[in-house]
Every structure is written in structure tokens, then in C-alpha cells.
């Protein structure tokens, strides 16, 4: 029996969970495509000027959930990494998370490769991946980053 079966079941369970569906219903994210082990999800975003948009993310899910997802910001039209000049803009926290770096994944502690880089996931267990996490954990972090411009835009509008 293939060891892929429980992995695929775990992904399916996450995609049908109430937590995931609620995010879809609220317009925070949407599933774009899924053929194991590749999942593409669009996450809603707010640009620095207050305009709403979305960004695509490619999840490589081999070994999920025991192995952390490999997550890359994606150009869905060309099926390739999103060009650096088209990536999210905003605070240092946003630009650093989506920067181009050696392994080209999203630079957050929960990512398979970024988490191991400089061992920084061990310093931030609240953001590190473990087998009890689900895909929505990552999506909530991405959504929080991508909509963080909301806060600054609100201040500028009130000024």
C-alpha cells in the first residue's frame, strides 16, 4: 500500500474542514487547483493604496502533514514563480516574507525550507510547522500579511 494515501487524506480533510471553508466563505482565500501533491490557492490581499487583489501560492505537499509544505508565491498564468517586481508590497515584514531568496519559498517559519534556514523556526514555535497544524494555519498567516496594508491605509485616510 502506498504511503501517499494517508497524506492525500490529510490534505483532503484540511480542504473540507470548517476552518478552511469559513475562510473561503469570508473571501479570504479560494482553492484554485489541486492534483496531489500540488495545491494552488489564491489569497486575498490589500495593496498599499487600499486596492483589493489576490496572490497565488503553490503548495507542494509530499509527506504532509508530517513534513511541512513547500510554499511558493506563484504566477498561475505561466505556472512559474511570480516575478519579483510583481510581488506584494508593504512593510518590511511583507517584503521580506515574499522576497527572492536561495530556496525561493515563502520566507516564514512554517515553510519547509525557510523554517530550517538559520534554524529560525525553533525560535518562533508559534509560527513553526508541526504535524498538528493544518493548511488553514498557513493561510491565516498569509492572509494576515497580505492584508496588513489595511492598517496603514486606514491611518492615511484618517489623516
Amino acid at each position: 500500500m502506498s504511503d501517499l494515501r494517508p497524506t492525500e487524506l490529510a490534505v483532503t480533510a484540511d480542504l473540507t474542514s470548517a476552518r478552511f471553508r469559513i475562510g473561503v466563505k469570508r473571501g479570504h482565500w479560494r482553492k484554485v487547483s489541486y492534483v496531489f501533491p500540488i495545491l494552488v490557492i489564491a489569497v486575498a490581499a490589500v495593496e498599499p493604496n487600499g486596492n483589493s487583489t489576490e496572490y497565488f501560492f503553490r503548495f507542494e505537499l509530499t509527506g504532509f502533514p508530517g513534513t511541512a509544505p513547500d510554499v511558493r508565491i506563484w504566477d498561475y498564468a505561466t505556472d512559474a514563480l511570480l516575478a519579483v517586481d510583481q510581488r506584494p508590497k508593504g512593510s518590511n515584514r511583507v517584503t521580506e516574507a515574499f522576497k527572492s531568496w536561495g530556496n525561493q519559498t515563502v520566507y516564514r517559519p512554517w515553510d519547509r525550507l525557510a523554517g530550517a534556514h538559520n534554524n529560525w523556526s525553533s525560535g518562533y514555535p508559534d509560527l513553526a510547522w508541526n504535524a498538528k497544524r493544518d493548511l488553514t494555519f498557513i493561510l491565516e498567516d498569509l492572509y494576515g500579511l497580505l492584508t496588513s496594508n489595511t492598517t496603514a491605509h486606514g491611518i492615511r485616510q484618517a489623516a
Binding site: 470548517a18 469570508r26 515584514r93 516564514r108 496594508n149 489595511t150 492598517t151 496603514a152 486606514g154 489623516a159
Partner: protein, 174 residues
């Protein structure tokens, strides 16, 4: 969302509330009064239904429990059930504390917006997107779509946050 499984029409309602750790989806029969939402959340939250109040996300005033729930009006909206009508919110930052009353259905994002605004700590707009709220004395940023009521249990109606800067790469926080 209507569900005709097993011959029953149901409406899916997104709910948060007192005693719930996160947003959940419940189902009530089509044609139900709003009080059915309150009853369902009270069971999940482990509190008596008497005196419980129903809000829509980010709305300060409760809604009438006698109204009939209509799918088109509730779809995508998150409801909130709590026994407190208002929560006394305090936010700490650099040795200062500011306070204001919010409905329990208020999202963390809305409290954060106020805390960084000129009415709050007047945070530089360039820095504001890096700010997060954590429960007072803790360091874990709270989800911005969470309702503040989930962190408060009636009759204790006070809630303190810390305004913190979020984690940035290279294992360091600004």
C-alpha cells in the same frame, strides 16, 4: 447555503462567541428565528441561553432574536453570541495604556486599527502594518479576523491587549 440532504433545507451560519475557541459553522433549519443561532452557540459555548445577545460581526448593536433568518442576508457574515453587550478593552504600548468599549463581535483588526490610529498610539503609517495585538503579557499575535468576545467570559467583561511588532525573517523580531 441551503442543504437538501435527507430532505431537509438548512442554512449554514458562521458563528463566533463566548466559549468558542474559533469561528465555527452551524446549521439551522430554513425559517428559523435568530434565537436558534443563540441557542446553538450557547450549547457549544457552555452557557445558559437566557440573556445571551446576538450580533453581526463589527456591528455594535445586537439584532432582534425574533427575526427569521434569511439565507441571502446571513451568507458570508459571521455572527457572534455573547452574554456581554460591551467589553472594556485596554491596550498597552511602551508603558501607556489606552482604553475603549467595544462590542464582543468586534474583530481584532478593528481594535488594532484604533490602537495604531491618531486616537490611539499614533503609530507611524510606515510601521503600522507590522503591528499586531497579543493578549496582555503574551507574545503570540492574535488572528485579526477573530472576534474579541472569544477571549472574554461573562461576567468578566474586561480585556487587555499588548500592541506588539510582528515577527520578521531571519529569526528576529523588529
Amino acid at each position: 447555503m441551503q442543504n437538501t440532504e435527507q430532505g431537509r433545507d438548512e442554512i449554514e451560519i458562521l458563528v463566533e462567541g463566548e466559549g468558542l475557541a474559533e469561528v465555527e459553522a452551524i446549521r439551522i433549519p430554513v425559517g428559523s428565528a435568530a434565537s436558534e443561532i443563540v441557542a446553538a452557540v450557547a450549547v457549544k459555548g457552555g452557557f445558559p441561553v437566557e440573556g445571551a445577545i446576538l450580533f453581526i460581526e463589527d456591528c455594535d448593536e445586537p439584532i432582534d432574536l425574533a427575526i427569521v433568518v434569511v439565507d441571502e442576508e446571513v451568507s458570508g457574515k459571521v455572527h457572534h453570541v455573547h452574554r456581554a453587550r460591551k467589553i472594556e478593552v485596554g491596550v498597552f504600548y511602551q508603558g501607556r495604556r489606552i482604553e475603549r468599549r467595544f462590542a464582543p463581535s468586534t474583530r481584532v483588526q478593528r481594535v488594532l486599527d484604533w490602537a495604531v490610529s491618531r486616537d490611539g498610539f499614533n503609530i507611524d503609517p510606515a510601521v503600522a502594518p507590522e503591528m499586531e495585538l497579543a493578549l496582555h503579557g503574551q507574545t503570540k499575535p492574535l488572528p485579526k479576523s477573530a472576534h474579541i468576545g472569544r477571549y472574554v467570559r461573562h461576567p468578566h467583561c474586561e480585556l487587555d491587549f499588548d500592541l506588539i511588532r510582528g515577527v520578521v525573517p531571519n529569526g528576529a523580531a523588529l
